[in-house]
């Protein structure tokens, strides 16, 4: 189960990127993406920005149900917006691309945190894995059935992702408080990266 986390600024420019793998249940914390697929992560994550922008003004709820890209945009399904209502910031899984789920957290300053979840297959072998195949052997099924990858829409996963985002948001606001940090500048602090890594280890 590999994760690709990106922070996108208000002008759709990437400010920070981090890849990591799950540390639970035998995962060693290293991301396993196919080399060819690695650059695709950026594309996938950026393409979901359209959906974020559509939903950010219309959504009245914290969590956005996952939907396949072929369906109607989610905003038409949700409870109607009441005049003057304020809307919360965390949108659940907002997009799916061949089994990769994307979740988003929107900060007050319209900076987007995007997390791409990509389930591994063959966790026993840890060789190059395909992002679109389903695990086939029984041992695989047992091992992956309780991992986050098998249930990307389960409440535990979403809770874990939400907690992860909350911790990163905490580190992000602290980073903003730096008077020398200008908005939309790339984040280069190794301490910030360490914080994101620690949050990833803790929750994902």
């Amino acid at each position: 189960m590999s994760y690709y986390f990106a922070i996108i600024g208000t002008k759709d420019n990437p400010l920070f990127e981090h890849e990591f793998g799950t540390s639970k249940q035998g995962g060693d914390g290293i991301a396993r993406f196919r080399d060819e697929a690695r650059h695709m992560n950026q594309f996938i994550v950026h393409s979901s920005l359209d959906i974020v922008e559509e939903v950010q003004w219309g959504s009245g709820q914290m969590y956005v149900r996952p939907f396949p890209p072929s369906q109607k945009p989610p905003s038409l399904h949700y409870p109607p917006v009441h005049a003057g209502a304020v809307h919360t910031q965390y949108l659940k899984t907002i997009d799916r691309y061949h089994n990769n789920h994307i979740s988003c957290y929107l900060t007050a300053g319209n900076v987007k945190f995007l997390l791409l979840l990509s389930p591994d297959t063959h966790p026993a072998a840890y060789t190059a894995s395909s992002n679109t195949q389903r695990p086939s052997s029984a041992a695989l099924a047992r091992q992956t059935s309780s991992s986050l990858a098998a249930n990307p829409t389960a409440p535990q996963t979403e809770e874990a992702i939400r907690l992860f985002f909350t911790e990163v948001y905490d580190a992000w606001v602290k980073n903003l408080m730096n008077p020398f940090y200008l908005l939309n500048a790339p984040v280069r602090s190794p301490v910030f990266r360490g914080r994101v890594m620690a949050a990833g280890k803790k929750y994902l």
Partner: protein
């Protein structure tokens, strides 16, 4: 500057510092190994700053801007620009500090302005602003009134610059907050309120939103998106 040329005590200190610094890209850590990421954001929630130190700094800011600005409107623009990044950052901080139940991003103009009118003003000046009105001239203009802006407390304006209102700094903060929340403004300016005897320093902040924002507001009100 080579180390061998420095006196021995200084060179010892320098070597000690070099040894203590972790090798991660030359970043220097304070001796207690605590970075800004270790401070709790709510720690300074209720702390206050002395008015005198703010006034001192503000006066210096004005004279710094005045040296570079040939005219009154240029001076106001510079003050506005110095308040702008403050607004961007305060937006995130204040929304973070609200209790989790109500920690929501504003998505409507009225909600945003209420946020500015109460939360922002309370954070900066310890009291909410005095009035929030929609202007008669156009639906894209809103006005926030402050009877006695704190920043003008120790500023006296000479007669030849009577148009200048140093609350342009606060106007810059408001502009930062609005732009950060996604409601792009054409301008936020500070004006003296005419004809007020009880409050001679009464200031009106005129917030002009761009037409796209009003359009979006209309669409959201319609119930679709």
């Amino acid at each position: 500057m080579s180390i061998s040329q420095q006196p021995k005590a200084a060179s010892n200190v320098l070597q000690q510092q070099l040894q203590q610094a972790p090798p991660s890209g030359g970043l220097r850590y304070p001796s207690s190994k605590k970075t800004i990421y270790d401070r709790n954001l709510n720690r300074t929630r209720t702390s206050e700053l002395s008015r005198a130190s703010f006034a001192y700094l503000f006066i210096e800011m004005i004279s710094y801007a005045q040296k570079r600005a040939p005219s009154v409107s240029d001076l106001e623009k510079r003050l506005n620009a110095s308040g702008y990044p403050l607004g961007l950052k305060l937006l995130d901080l204040l929304i973070y500090r609200e209790p989790p139940r109500s920690a929501l991003r504003p998505t409507r103009i009225l909600a945003l302005l209420q946020f500015v009118h109460t939360t922002l003003w309370k954070h900066l000046f310890g009291r909410p602003a005095d009035a929030l009105e929609l202007s008669n001239n156009s639906p894209a203009e809103y006005m926030i009134t402050d009877n006695e802006p704190l920043v003008n407390a120790y500023i006296s304006i000479p007669k030849e610059m009577s148009q200048l209102n140093c609350a342009a700094y606060v106007a810059g903060i408001i502009e930062g907050v609005c732009d950060g929340a996604g409601f792009v403004t054409e301008s936020v300016t500070a004006h003296w309120a005419e004809g007020e005897d009880i409050w001679p320093g009464k200031t009106i902040f005129l917030i002009k939103f761009k037409p796209e924002v009003i359009e979006r507001e209309g669409i959201l009100k319609g119930g679709t998106s």
